[in-house]
């Protein structure tokens, strides 16, 4: 424990502080408690006004859950499975490639010329406009043509002595993290269009595992890179140097030494990413329509056209919340052992 051990405070103020924290905890816990009890109520039990304690002022029923199980309010089981599959795999992939990128940004030197970046953007934009407007390609074709061409030219251009500033690792990191700043609403729609266009080329991305997971991987990467960079920076470099001297190849240093050493950080990042994907609403809304719907869509849908049916909403919300509750337990244990410290230096 560091510092202010409340030693400067009297017993009274100590108690007041404890009381304040307790109050905040109650505020935090009450809505959750409310969901739990409401999920076991009957419709008249809800409409009749608030009741609080099962068996005391209302008789609990499992009916809302039976309804869920029987699929009266949508395919809960399958949706739950979808959320689990997409969540776990997207979080795992994002953590994996994000960690690789973060490691690269911590340990290797990168130099990108701003000029090359601009060339890429302008060529991609111009190429896209040219191909789609003047040469009669579809949007997807135009993009699929313009993008690699721009990328290749930009990579070549990066080797030329272009004027203008040279961007280093910090700038690349900022570029990654700044992806989070773009309002997701338009990204979602544009992505939807991109996916449908690619779908016309014969590779279905809408409402597919690949499409949804890829999108989540991309939008989780900024968080992963940001968090993992700090974890990796906390690893003493000598350990890696020892391995280098020992003729361990770089990939093996990463997999055999760095990854096990930052396992806790990876786990925490994985869980945070999982929570993000698990709760994500907007992209799921646009990129799925039947087979790969996720839980938030179904939960939001409980707010149906004909008004709120709280017992059902609560049961649905509870199903979506429980895995996150378990994770909160795990995360808080990690937090206690100070493992998240590395994330914020």
């Amino acid at each position: 424990m560091s510092g202010q051990g409340l030693t400067g405070l009297s017993t009274l103020s100590r108690r007041l502080v404890a009381l304040g924290v307790l109050a905040w905890c109650l505020i935090t816990a009450f809505p959750l408690y409310w969901v739990v009890v409401t999920a076991f109520k009957t419709p008249p039990g809800v409409v009749g006004g608030p009741t609080y304690i099962p068996f005391v002022d209302f008789t609990p029923t499992l009916q809302p859950f039976i309804d869920l199980y029987q699929g009266i309010r949508g395919e809960f089981f399958r949706t739950f499975l979808n959320s689990t599959i997409v969540g776990l795999s997207a979080a795992a992939m994002a953590t994996a490639i994000g960690a690789m990128a973060a490691y690269a940004l911590v340990r290797f030197e990168f130099r990108v010329r701003l000029g090359a970046g601009l060339i890429f953007f302008l060529l991609a934009l111009g190429g896209y406009l040219l191909f789609s407007n003047n040469l009669g390609f579809t949007r997807a074709q135009a993009l699929l043509l313009a993008f690699p061409i721009a990328l290749v030219i930009a990579i070549i251009a990066n080797r030329l002595p272009l004027p203008g500033p040279i961007l280093g690792n910090e700038d690349i990191l900022f570029w990654f993290v700044s992806q989070r700043m773009f309002p997701p609403i338009v990204t979602a729609f544009a992505l939807y269009l991109l996916y449908t266009e690619i779908g016309r080329l014969g590779f279905q991305l809408i409402d597919s595992y690949v499409g949804l997971t890829l999108c989540y991987v991309a939008f989780s990467l900024p968080i992963v890179v940001w968090l993992m960079r700090d974890f990796f920076e906390a690893i003493p470099i000598e350990v890696e140097e020892a391995a280098m001297v020992d003729n361990v190849p770089s990939w093996r240093i990463f997999l055999g030494i760095v990854v096990p050493m930052s396992m806790n950080g990876l786990l925490a990042t994985f869980m945070i990413t999982l929570a993000f994907v698990w709760n994500e609403f907007l992209f799921a809304l646009f990129l799925t329509n039947s087979k790969w719907q996720t839980l938030p869509i179904l939960v939001a849908g409980q707010n149906s056209q004909r008004g709120d049916e709280w017992w059902a909403i609560s049961a649905a919300a509870l199903v979506a919340i429980i895995p996150m509750m378990i994770m909160a337990g795990l995360l808080s244990r990690m937090m206690r052992s100070g493992l998240l410290l590395g994330a914020i230096k």
Binding site: P43, P44, G48, I72, R200, N289, A300, N303, G307
Partner: protein
């Protein structure tokens, strides 16, 4: 318990059907076919689709996968899927108002389905108007929607109440003929200290609010002398929504919001039903679901005491052409076909056109839909003559008196001489969004009814110009059942 009832009914239905058709061959044989239907999140409509799906599966061995979206997402979802020529959905269920936006992407109903006993059984209001677009049939109604009036018979027949009412207002307490009477009754029963309030309507943005407003306004604007002029002038496509008839409707709608439970401003139709079933209000307007839910003893405190009637009307109706009030010898009800009932259609890109239409046939057959109509929670209200004619079907949930009133109100409304059609226009959401916003301001007292509706009219005219006035006018005339201009 809505769902429990529903469950029991489905199961019994399923068992009965299974017993009779256990060994029936698949006819027509659609085994291996899986139809995907887009729908709103259940139980409403989605469960009706599932009910139909089970039947169809038994008959044809094909499978149906009902995909549910939140109500607010259904329109964008269908639009994006249709405009992307995405063959995800074999069928889409939707609101009639969206039909104009969807038509270019829908396939026409097979001619064979457009005749016969089942076809003629559909109420003309649906068969000849809502299902038609520019002379062609693109969709099939799977639900009938008209606003009706619901009240508590125990209060209305209480001699003490009757006397007190007569003393105060000078006429008998009965289901109201005019909106003024409706408000009088609401005012009379407004007793917050006793947990009783006057009326319940939907007032929440995104909570079916504007249809309730339209119901009020229909009485003053749906003029038989100048048909189809409720929303726009069918000659010029000028917005009519700020004319004196509409303003009067809005004033009364705002007044009604003050004669409801304290949180009425946050009511969507679901809360309206809950308030009625909970015995909190003396009267209410809304779709047919209200009556079915209020009759169900498992979820209602007033079962057995539910009365129904046609919506109130007016003897004065604004004439958009002469810009004057037209006087009528008697009160002329203008039952409003709010929403217009869910419809189901088949996108052109669907891979199983034939099977899809066959499913529609099964789903909307008198037997299957009749079963759905009496099942609370399917959201299906009568839209066939056979639905309202078959009193016996309804005796399962209603007392004879209730059934008579309920079915009478439904049938009379749909067949009413001056039934008011809901607006159907390309760009529907752009039009209704501004209505919702301005209604919210007017209800909150931030602006006057006239100013609010002026703002709506201005935006409507702007939108019409942006979308193309001639195009919109043609569409509007089609929607209102008027012949094309010139």
């Amino acid at each position: 318990m809505l769902r429990r009832t529903f469950l029991m009914l489905t199961t019994s239905l399923a068992v009965a059907c299974a017993a009779s058709q256990a060994n029936a061959a698949c006819s027509p044989d659609y085994s291996g076919v899986t139809l995907t239907v887009a729908s709103q999140t259940g139980p409403y409509i989605a469960s009706a689709l599932k009910l139909g799906a089970d039947e169809w599966t038994k008959k044809t061995c094909g499978k149906v996968n009902v995909v549910e979206f939140p109500w607010s997402e259904l329109y964008p979802k269908i639009v994006t899927s249709l405009t992307a020529s995405d063959a995800t959905f074999d069928l889409v269920s939707f609101a009639p108002a969206w039909l104009p936006d969807f038509v270019p992407y829908l396939s026409e109903m097979p001619k064979a389905m457009q005749s016969g006993k089942d076809w003629d059984d559909v109420e003309p209001a649906y068969r000849e108007r809502l299902m038609v677009w520019e002379g062609k049939i693109y969709s099939q109604s799977m639900d009938g929607d008209v606003h009706t009036y619901t009240y508590r018979t125990d209060l209305f027949s209480d001699p003490k109440e009757k006397d007190a009412f007569k003393a105060k207002y000078g006429y008998d307490l009965a289901p109201p003929k005019t909106w003024k009477q409706y408000l009088d009754i609401a005012e009379f029963f407004q007793r917050p200290d006793k947990g009783l309030w006057g009326t319940a309507e939907a007032f929440r943005r995104g909570g079916q609010q504007f249809w309730f407003f339209f119901s009020h306004a229909a009485a003053y604007t749906n003029n038989p002398n100048y048909p189809g002029a409720m929303f726009f002038d069918p000659e010029t496509m000028d917005a009519q929504i700020n004319n004196p008839g509409w303003v009067k409707g809005l004033e009364e709608y705002i007044r009604a919001s003050k004669l409801g439970p304290p949180n009425a401003l946050n009511f969507s139709f679901g809360e309206v039903n809950a308030a009625v079933a909970g015995g909190q209000v003396a009267e209410s307007i809304g779709w047919g679901d209200t009556g079915v839910i209020a009759a169900d003893p498992k979820q209602s405190k007033i079962s057995g005491k539910v009365g129904s009637a046609v919506l109130p009307g007016s003897d004065e109706i604004w004439n958009a052409k002469t810009k004057k009030w037209d006087k009528f010898p008697a009160v002329l009800p203008a039952p409003f076909m709010a929403f217009g009932g869910w419809q189901i259609a088949v996108p052109k890109v669907g891979k199983h056109q034939e099977a899809a239409w066959d499913f529609v046939k099964t789903l909307t057959s008198p037997e299957v839909s009749g079963q759905a109509a009496i099942t609370g929670g399917t959201g299906v209200n009568p839209y066939r003559k056979s639905h309202t004619a078959n009193l016996e079907l309804w005796s399962k949930i209603f007392s004879p008196q209730e059934a008579k009133e309920y079915l009478g109100a439904q049938a009379d409304s749909i067949n009413g001489k001056n039934v008011a059609l809901d607006m159907r226009l390309p760009g529907y959401f752009s039009y209704t969004e501004v209505v919702e916003i301005e209604l919210g301001k007017a209800l909150a007292g931030q602006t006057t009814p006239q100013a609010a509706l002026d703002a709506v009219a201005k935006e409507w005219n702007r939108l019409t110009d942006e979308f193309g006035r001639a195009k919109q006018l043609a569409a509007y005339r089609a929607a209102m059942g008027l012949p094309p201009k010139n």
